[in-house]
């Protein structure tokens, strides 16, 4: 069972050879492949993280732009509303003024016509009263 012979050194040499050959055809290339894959994955992850950050900053930027636009549109709307209100107020005031002047004019006209009517009426009163007197007293007496 314990018979040592040349098997031992030869086996040792053979094992060292196997180590060397496996190092060349197994450990080195596969370790390289594993490391490369690690690096590849790390790189991809880094780029992905970068683009994610970029996308997030873009989103933020766009959101800020949207908020600004919304604010702007709101201010425009408010401005327009104020303008419209002003215009309506102005128009209303103008119309009221016009109406007032027309009313005054009409009142003036009425007054005038009343006066003329009264004047004509007074004249007619005179002639009418003369005619009444003539009719009652007779034309000779009136003169």
């Amino acid at each position: 069972m314990f018979d040592f012979d040349a098997t031992m050194p030869l086996m040792a040499v053979q094992f060292l050879l196997l180590t060397a050959i496996l190092n060349a055809v197994f450990y080195k290339p596969l370790t390289k492949a594993l490391d490369e894959r690690d690096a590849y994955i790390r790189n991809n992850q880094a780029t992905a993280k970068e683009s994610l950050a970029k996308a997030e900053s873009l989103v933020k930027e766009y959101e800020a732009q949207i908020a600004a636009a919304r604010k702007e549109s709101q201010s425009i709307v408010e401005k327009a509303q104020a303008e419209a209100r002003e215009i309506t107020a102005q128009k209303t005031a103008e119309a009221q003024k016009q109406v007032q002047t027309q009313k005054e004019q009409a009142a003036q006209e009425i007054q005038q016509q009343k006066e003329t009517a009264l004047a004509t009426l007074e004249q007619q009163v005179d002639s009418l009263s003369r005619q009444i007197l003539e009719k009652i007293l007779g034309p000779e007496l009136v003169k």
């Binding site: 069972m1 018979d3 098997t7 370790t31």
Partner: protein
């Protein structure tokens, strides 16, 4: 082992028999080597090389099936080494510790799963290379060399300070440790694998069908654990040599 050997003659189902201590000897000059150990170890090495080449022949960012599997194996090995050696030091030691794990693991499972009995050898039998003490001692001595190398490379001769670092009283024990480490490493692996194969073989001799199956499953479990233990301890020893005592 003659008694057990005679038992197999009585057994009509010779699915397994015990031939511990018999080897398929090859002669190289004045030296002998255990041929069956090398044959199986070459198959193990072949499996590892084919799997590696299939995985790395066409490396893609999104891995295919075999590449994914081998990447899983590599990540397991890297984690194991990293846990033992720490984030800073582990990279250069991944090939050594990882090859220890892969070689022992594939050897153990190959020895347990492939029906080697179907291939007849002139003497001895094919089995896991790790059930030969020569293999385990070779691996354990390489581990010793590795941690000495790690210590010297990091600290130069200052590495010897760790023998007298907390107190010189422990010097004998510190020296003894350098011998017990490879001894325990090699005997643990050798004993576990051989014992597992023996238990399975004996049970197969006694009750040929179904009864040995749970023991075989347990054997697979032990084999995996032993590979893990060997690699983990190798990593731990290297870490110890790199850090030294009281320098955490």
């Amino acid at each position: 082992m003659e008694i057990l050997g005679s038992l197999t003659i009585l057994n009509t189902f010779t699915l397994a028999e015990l031939e511990v201590g018999e080897h398929f000897l090859w002669k190289i000059g004045n030296y002998t080597v255990h041929g069956q150990v090398f044959i199986v170890s070459w198959i193990v090495i072949g499996v590892l090389l084919i799997a590696s080449l299939a995985a790395t022949r066409n490396i893609q960012t999104v891995p295919g099936e075999i590449q994914n599997f081998m990447e899983y194996a590599l990540e397991f090995i890297r984690d194991l080494t990293k846990n033992q050696l720490g984030e800073k030091e582990y990279r250069p030691w991944v090939p050594f510790v990882g090859t220890l794990f892969l070689f022992i693991f594939v050897s153990n499972w190959g020895g347990a799963l492939i029906p080697w009995k179907l291939i007849q050898l002139p003497s001895g039998e094919l089995a896991a290379p790790t059930n030969d003490i020569n293999t385990t001692v070779a691996l354990a001595l390489l581990t010793s060399l590795a941690y000495f190398y790690a210590g010297f490379k990091k600290k130069g001769l200052g590495y010897f300070k760790k023998y007298i670092e907390p107190t010189p009283i422990l010097l004998p024990i510190a020296i003894l440790e350098d011998f017990t480490k490879p001894l325990s490493l090699s005997f643990r692996l050798f004993g576990n694998i051989l014992a597992d194969e023996l238990v399975v073989a004996v049970l197969v001799l006694l009750v040929p069908l179904f009864v040995p199956l749970p023991v075989m499953a347990l054997g697979l479990f032990t084999s995996a654990i032993q590979a893990l233990v060997f690699a983990t301890l190798a990593g731990a020893y290297i870490h110890e040599a790199l850090e030294g005592h009281g320098e955490e």
